[in-house]
Amino acid sequence: MVAPIYIIAAALGTAFTLGLLHKTGKTLPYVLMTLALGLMTFISLEWLLAFLIDGQKEEIIYTAGFKPPFSISLLMGKMEAVFISIVNTMAFLGSIYMARDLKNKGVNSMLIYLLLIMGLNVVIMTRDIFNLFVFLEVSSIATAGLLLIGGRKNAVSAGLKYLIATGTIAGFLLIGIIFFYYYAGSLSLDDIIASKESWISVGNIALLLVLLSVILELKPFPANGWALDVYQGANPGIGAIISASSATAMVYVLYKMMPLASEAWNYVIIGIGLLSFVASNIAGIKQTNAQRLLGYSSVGQIGLAVAIVGMHQWLGSGLMTILLAMLASHFLAKAGLFWLAGIVNKETTKEWGILRNKPVLLFLMGTFIFALLGFPPFPSFFGKWELIMSLSDLGQYGIVSLILIGSLFEAVYMLRWLGYAIKEDKEEAVNFSIHWEKFLPVGIVATALYAAGYFFGWKSGYSDWYKYMPLAFAAALFLLDFLPVYVKNSITLLGMGWYFFEMYTQYTGLKFVFFIIFIGGGLLIFLAGYYKKGKRVGFYPLAILMYAGLALMLEASNMLEFFFAWEIMTAGSYFLIIRGKKSMTHALNYALFSIGGAFLILAGFGITQAGKDGLSLELLYQVGSMSPYVFILLAIGFMTKTASMGLHIWLPGAHAEAETDVSPMVSAVLLKAGVYGLIITMISLGNQFIGGINIQVVLAWIGVLTALMGNMMAAFQEDAKRLLAYSSIGQLGYVLFGLALMSHLGWLTAISVAINHFLFKAMLFLAIGGVVLRTKTKYMYQMGGLIKKMPITFIVVLIGIITLSGVPPLSGFAGKWLFYNAILEKGWYLQGAVLFFAGVIAFLYCFRLIHTIFLGQLKDEHRKVKEAPFWLLLPQILVIVGIMVLSAFPNSILKPLGEVLYSYFPEGALSWNDQLANSIYGYWDGKMVLYVVVAIFASVFLWALIVTRKSQKVKQFNIVYAAERPFRPETTHFAYNFFAPFKKALGFLVYPGITNFWNRVGQSTMAGADALRKIYNGNGQAYVLHIVLFFIVVYFITAGGF
């Protein structure tokens, strides 16, 4: 094995040699430098492997042949090996990335680059605090030198700010070090730690200066303006190294220093770290410059790392795994994004729209951003999970909520940026070239992210291969993305079909119902996928990602698996939604509500497992005194997915703007994930009371109001898809209400409404999607008279709305009938009355779908409209068959469902007599009702055929109406603002109060962020003042350094 001292020797030797090579051209020095970095990387990785595999013992390197305190010693331990491996690998990749820049700038820049990396290596390994100071200064001077060489606009002034800030910090560090020597009599870190008892009472000022200097190098809020300017101004390659290598090295230095500190310091360090994390992420949301945005995110992530280091006594042996998981996501993704910034070469985040020309780069950007946000399968997901669980065990719920709030703010600006890259309209289609040496490192770090994610998953006990199979399927589709739609669609159907037949025997009870909705529904809607021509770039991997999440959610046996699946599903559906037209903001809203909801669920899980063994979902049954809070957290978390009132504002836009076959996926299928979550919550936690109020009553009211509001909003829409979207909100309100009844009939209703909603919403969205596809408009008043042009679609919509509105004979009526039984049984008459009213409103919007689209006058521009494509119609017809079966044989589903529910709610079950259901209030025979209605319909139809035999066919503009002559179809088809009178009467009820509320939340957060970031006024002197004040304030907070 190569001795670690050769790392330093290689760097120094090559640097000196480079100094002599000014006249030999640029390539030879560059090759030498890369070789040196390669050698350094090799040595560090060799050591790392030896530690990991062979159980290598740590080794101390004494310089100059003496032992400390007479010489400087370097330590090569496991952790040192990890950190120098990170630093050197990133530096090596960075040198490849910057090949062109470094060659352009000449030999000096290569020399400085080597020195910077050498400095960082020594900083990690050294056990001598003065040596630490020296090599910190070496790194700082080298960094400042690299910044001087230039980068973006104003790089030089950024470099100056960096230099004076780090110069000030170094001065204080030096004072601290000399006083350590004075009090402890040694510069060796190990000696100082060993003699802690002798100096701890007097040497507190030395400790304060040293600790704070190290922390200040980690850019804590608010003394970090210099760092942000550097991130913004630096050459992206340098920014990547500062963010990835330098910051990572400094985190380790802080870790190394922690044994010096007394316990009270831990709290200060946690506080400083969390403040940085939250404040930087808030300030970041106003940011429009891409590199500065990365700066804010960097500062935030490192702040979190500082806080984690401060928790070393709480986290114990788990600390390093958590820290490394968080850092791995940080340095890989951040370096990747900085490098991407160099490739894109655009200043503002909006200009990143040009990335759309390069799907691979877009994919990499998505990878990096989701890794930073802590989505699975990336390392930070597992890091965050372990962190939140550990903190919950300790009862540190305040810290948990701060971490989650900070993460949510980070999601705001990161996803907005991603949204710009995916969707923002660009003025010109710029095609830019990518040099392979710039692309290669980005690809490598992205791959490393996935590998590291698997590694940390394995550490957290999430490593079974079959749990990654659905993800692997999505990845395979990504690789096959060059194939045409019909091939990919067939592969998807085959894959999902195989999964369906493989798994459907595995599930029973409620899980089986949701399995059918998720996977069976998915198959059904994928059938429609054949209607698309071309390649449909990126669609299949993302759609499968969503279904993978849903499938894994059903498979999940513990909370980690559940949360993993939940986040996978959120990520997949986010990408599906953002594919729609004009859906940038809607997708962002969806993602933010979903992430916020997911964090609530995470917190709920944290409380649940606190102080218990394992992570099983069964633990939800035994939460104890905290259960009302867990219940609220989980319920709100899941209600973000069911779009209950207050949390619904993302839904209409997201569903309405989505592609034709995506709308049913995110509506008919995806919303049920929230229902599934609610069901798990309610089954395991039951009725919960807080302050004497039954939370279920509150949920029931939310459900009632959601139904009312959703239906009313639907009635006043002009956009057909938006109408359906609001109708989903209303229907999910019914479901929530039914579940909140906490009775047998209530749940039977809720689940049958959920099933029905799945059926008719899939059908209606596909049907209306077909109409939109053909008429090229979503506005109903621009349609009309399509009954003859699209007869099959008309029948589908007719059946759909009959089912939806719950009139006999179709299966929707079962829901209604059960509903009123359940309400009567519970005695919630007021809620029942409101729901009844909401049901009446549902007729209004259902009527519009038929009247405005299919009846009335055909518009001139639609005279050549054809029926919807076969592949869109096929799933609709299959659904009709399903609805007919369920309507004729209601016991085929309600009876087994009732048996399932019997185990949870034994009282009040229906009794069945063939297709005749009996409740205590009455009976209902689905088959008989169907027969009777069909018989009446058939006889009226026949009679009409007979009496209209002699009638004469009339052309559209034949004057049969009145004294006026309609020249244009619009004048005889009243369609726009159809329910104007109702709107006048009841419009105040649909005043967009909730949307306005969330807008105000958004605006005030933005305003707060703007105010917060004003402290970074760009003046280098002010930044120095911040640093000095930082020392002074902490001095007083710690009463002179504890």
């Binding site: 001077i141 000030t168 170094a170 000399i178 760009g1018 000095v1028």
Partner: protein, 123 residues
């Protein structure tokens, strides 16, 4: 450390110079003056370092014929801080030189040495 002993006075002087240096950095808008402030800041630290290593009635840690090699530890002052000071001075020199280069570059950019003029990167 006795009041008004040589090490006390030099230590106090050192801190005074440090404070003057910090004041110089914070109160001057001119870059060159700020850099002088940094130099003072560094110098103050160096004085403090030397003051810390001072031991009464001892000689400099240079081994020559006047020193009895048997009792060397009792005759010379602590050599470590003096070695540190040398290193610190070198580093300080490097930093100062780099700062001056920056000042030069910035002056070329905007024909000004006023630090408040270089706040294009902010917020």
């Amino acid at each position: 450390m006795k009041f008004l002993s040589p090490e006390y006075i030099s230590m106090a002087a050192g801190f005074l110079v440090i404070l003057i240096g910090i004041w110089g950095i914070l109160a001057n808008k001119n870059l060159i003056r700020m850099i002088i402030g940094f130099s003072l800041f560094d110098t103050g630290i160096h004085i403090v370092m030397v003051a810390i290593s001072y031991l009464k009635d001892r000689t400099a840690p240079i081994i020559d014929e006047t020193i009895n090699t048997q009792e060397i530890a009792k005759q010379i002052t602590d050599p470590v801080p003096q070695a540190l000071v040398l290193t610190a001075i070198v580093i300080g020199l490097g930093v100062t030189a780099l700062m001056l280069v920056y000042a030069m570059k910035l002056h070329k950019e905007k024909k000004s040495l006023d630090i408040t003029k270089f706040n294009d990167l902010k917020w």
